[in-house]
Subunit: 344 residues, 4 copies
């Protein structure tokens, strides 16, 4: 059994990670940290875990050595403590943004700060198995990806890596859990309920990752906007791709099947009839799937690609467990078998 | 034109009051106060009022004399400043709980504090026109009622005043705006969304008002629980009344029509078919109606009475405007004509 | 008093029209038609109108002459009966799609059928006052606009009429009332609740109107996709405009103020802080506003314009009343003063 | 491996059953029936099962022998075909209401029809393991329980079996999936969304089961009302129990722990602080838990007991799998380990 700990387990991603790891057949959860909740049972923060385990939160300072350490801390904390964390565990998977970007300069541009440990950037693999499986298999350090970035990159990669896209305009519709568990007026229920709220029409931070991962020999032209909608978990990205040349529907099927045909967590969703003809995030809650669909605009060179994920699963904790499975040689779907619910 | 001001206009009830008063044909809004928002246009806090007026918030200390002063301050503030407020305006309508209870002792029991101005309690009329219209017509000081209390009392009064009820068990289902505009983890969207949350199964403060107003010569046996549901505005109370003797449906029609037949804001809702057979709070959003329906349990002496209101309207600001209309001799429905939306 | 009737008053747009007309100071509602509900009080279908009027639905065949006739019938019915309707009323405002497009060919392309009365197409004004006020003032026949089209056109017109936009990609997020009041599995609550559902990624019918109204000497390049989100009323369009040349934020302010500065129902919404920095449809429920905001992408020639409306108001019934006001010389805001609610 | 089939697998309960059985380590799903969807892959109806299995629906007439047959057919179909079904499988678990009541007369009273196979009533065990585990262990025929009845009975049984309750008034708040997957105007999203709708204030059918199972030597006085709230999955029952004599909080702890201390799917939820102090159905979606909490009213002999379940899980499919586990000697939690999600 692999002994794992979670630094920062009181947040939404950390809690989801804990839920998954408690059900993983090859893992034992050793410690979970939280500062203000230190000393409390985990179910006081994550009520779904009531009766599931008897773990209590410990402060970060009490962290002991383990086989693999998950970091689910606020952005900026991991980079400042990476030496310390590396001394505690031979393998680290970080869910924050601290090691996602290859170029230290991007941290200045997108996060407004100098990176505190730039030498570590190249040691981390961008830990989305569908993008970097081979590197993950021999990696000790992996970073999770931004949730919006994950949905966008997975939806678009087959087209960009073939050099087919001239320009992509991506609109993400996102749920409230993406904002974390800190209350604010914007997240106050009477204000947030029923909202259709443009919160990042331009300059979203995840653009840095998106461009990094969609660069196949040339800088990709990708534009991104995000709108908050009434939903707790889930992201739907709608990517309007203007193609360099006309592409037929059957070509798209070939391309996506070729890229993702053997991926355990990517499903192509495109039905002629029924309610669920395209990807729909609500039925993915709790699952690690990324559902992808597409439609060709008959009157222009536009292809609309849709991608849906649960932001806390494939967009955070689920992907992290999947990355662990790849790094540790476990079956890639171990602990991630939940299919999602319908209706929900 | 009556010159009115609102002390405490940045909260939800105060904002609703402002919206109504701006549309009232016989009123001019003079000042609106808010501490942290002082100096800002009202639409920065109440975005629906954008373009509707050019008022800015002023601090409480800047309040000037006016014809009628509405108080929509946090509980406890009005009782401490009532002498000051009374020196500014000959008429006051307070929306807080500070002057609702006739007995000073009840403040200790239900609000955990001594009343700061007990001599003022008897000067205030419990300002629900359906209960105290005649007193309101000659009153200078009126208090608003608790939103849950309003729905409960209006639903039950016709039965209690006729001495028909032995015991009533009231379950209120309430929206999130009832909790005010201060964010907390309980109101954080990912936590509050989709909730069916028992927050006051026993000992709700509004019981004090309910019992006060339903006492017709004897202490009424009324039990009350409140459950938060997914809704921003609205309350549905379901009151299970165990009757002293069997009552037929046609008797109930007679009773309710006799009590409320000429009330402009009470509608009896009981249809044999269709979707809206009983009161439904969602179609009341923005309206001042209290919809009341009932059903006789054929196998027991139980009558189920349902009452629905918009907690910010008939449960707060709308009722306050109605009370003002009565006090000032305006048409009782002035400024309150909005019928509610469907669908919504 | 203008005597008006509504043909097709049992649907959502027809019901909203009835609500507005009942509150209009210069109008008397004469008849409202519905086939299956004929003989029933209007509140059996529109529960918000309980107690508001004593009208009953009559069948279409019972329609009598009136001063102005609103048509809110299913698409295709108005064009087949237009001669009959024109014999009943000197003025007609049609809310269906039957007279929106100037070119009969477009009906074949977008609606899959030959137009039944092509000679009438040129007699109808596309009845959005912000676009065709002068024509409306002397028109007897006006057509409403598609709800998505209204939001899109109003958001983009100032840029297109100045020839500034090379390409626009529009993503609409829409509520469930847009689909009308006929139940289906797609609208069944367990399926529709919480959905983020791409239902028209390409080839939406409203594109025909959008292109017609945004053609200023040249065919506009506009792409449109629609996604259903959890919301009953409301549309937010996010329009990504790729500009022919760089445009600064202050230029946009000038442009939009110049175009809309004196419009009673268009508000520019762009705040530096607060929750409601951009247009938000939820606070528009029941109001006739179209809120418009924008943001300049600092790293490209992209401008993101956002437009929000209540699809049943500015997108249907509210706009129709506004058009009537213009046609009849009434104050343009008569009957449309409701500001929307907050919180909601 | 136990070979099981599901008759009626296109409904919500049948689909949930299929989801659970596909993940059950000791079960192989042989056939799933549906009439209109016969010939289609199951994921066309249950989109969450995409990629999970390659089963297609078959018509009921094509059902072959199997080890255990689940019936998830509309009420009335099982009783008419029970002989046929019994000839196909030695063990049957029926999720409909057809075999829940012991007295044939109750079918006339509560379901308005004569029972078609009254001799079979006594062969079926009311299949809630917490109530009838010993009988289930030796049963071949089990019936599921009504979802509202399950929540109510489990919440109240410890009090009723000890003879402590004089009268109980139960208010259930329920989600929309309880109504099944057939669209209607009442379930149409614009109408159902945000509803707080009393749909069965008196005379709910589940009362028959509730009274049957809470009769411990005397007919229990239980009253029941149900209100639909904005929620897809989930039930919260709030049971106001008027006790024969005062009961202290610590007594209630003893009682509930004694009754349920070793139950794998019942959790006592009662916290002094935090958001989730009492049972909350939303965090139970997909789990088989019944969470129970209580509060003593300090000013009367009233105890408020709250019980929460997922109506499709512990209220239908989950309980059926649990019953199968008991009947077949499998670990009782097999296939039911999912803990629920937070946030959701």
């Amino acid at each position: 059994m692999l002994e794992v700990s979670i630094a920062g387990a009181s947040g939404y991603a950390g809690g989801e990670l804990l839920r998954l790891l408690l059900g993983h057949p090859q893992v034992r959860v050793k410690q979970v940290t939280a500062e203000s909740a230190a000393g409390s049972y985990v179910h006081t923060v994550h009520p779904n875990l009531r009766g599931r385990c008897q773990l209590k939160f410990v402060p970060l300072a009490a962290l002991e050595p383990c086989d693999l350490l998950f970091l689910a801390l606020p952005h900026g904390m991991a980079m400042e403590r990476i030496e310390k964390f590396a001394s505690l565990a031979p393998r680290i998977i970080d869910l924050s943004a601290d090691f996602r970007l290859r170029s230290p300069k991007d941290y200045v541009t997108y996060y407004g700060r100098e990176h505190a440990a730039p030498a570590w950037l190249e040691r981390f693999v961008y830990g989305v198995p569908e993008l970097h499986r081979a590197e993950l298999q021999r990696a000790n350090y992996a970073t999770g990806a931004g949730c919006n970035a994950t949905a966008t990159i997975l939806a678009l990669k087959p087209l960009f890596e073939r050099g087919l896209v001239e320009r992509a305009v991506v609109e993400a519709k996102v749920g409230s859990s993406e904002g974390g568990n800190t209350p604010s007026l914007a997240s106050h229920h009477p204000e947030r309920s029923g909202a259709v709220r443009s919160f990042a029409p331009v300059a979203h931070r995840h653009l840095a990752e998106i461009r990094q991962e969609l660069s196949f020999g040339q800088p990709p032209e990708v534009h991104f906007s995000a709108t908050a909608v009434e939903l707790v978990r889930g992201i739907l990205v709608t990517a309007h791709c203007f193609m360099r040349q006309p592409v037929a529907e059957k070509d798209l099927w070939c391309i996506y099947r070729e890229s993702y045909g053997s991926e355990p967590f990517i499903r192509l969703v495109r039905e002629r009839k029924g309610v669920y003809r395209y990807p729909e995030p609500k039925i993915l809650a709790g699952s690690n799937f990324c559902d992808i669909g597409f439609e060709v605009d008959p009157e222009s060179n536009r292809v609309v690609v849709m991608g849906a994920i649960d932001n806390l699963m494939k967009g955070a904790a689920g992907n992290a467990v999947q990355a662990m499975n790849v790094m540790c040689g476990f079956p890639e779907t171990a602990g991630l078998e939940f299919t999602g619910l319908h209706p929900i």
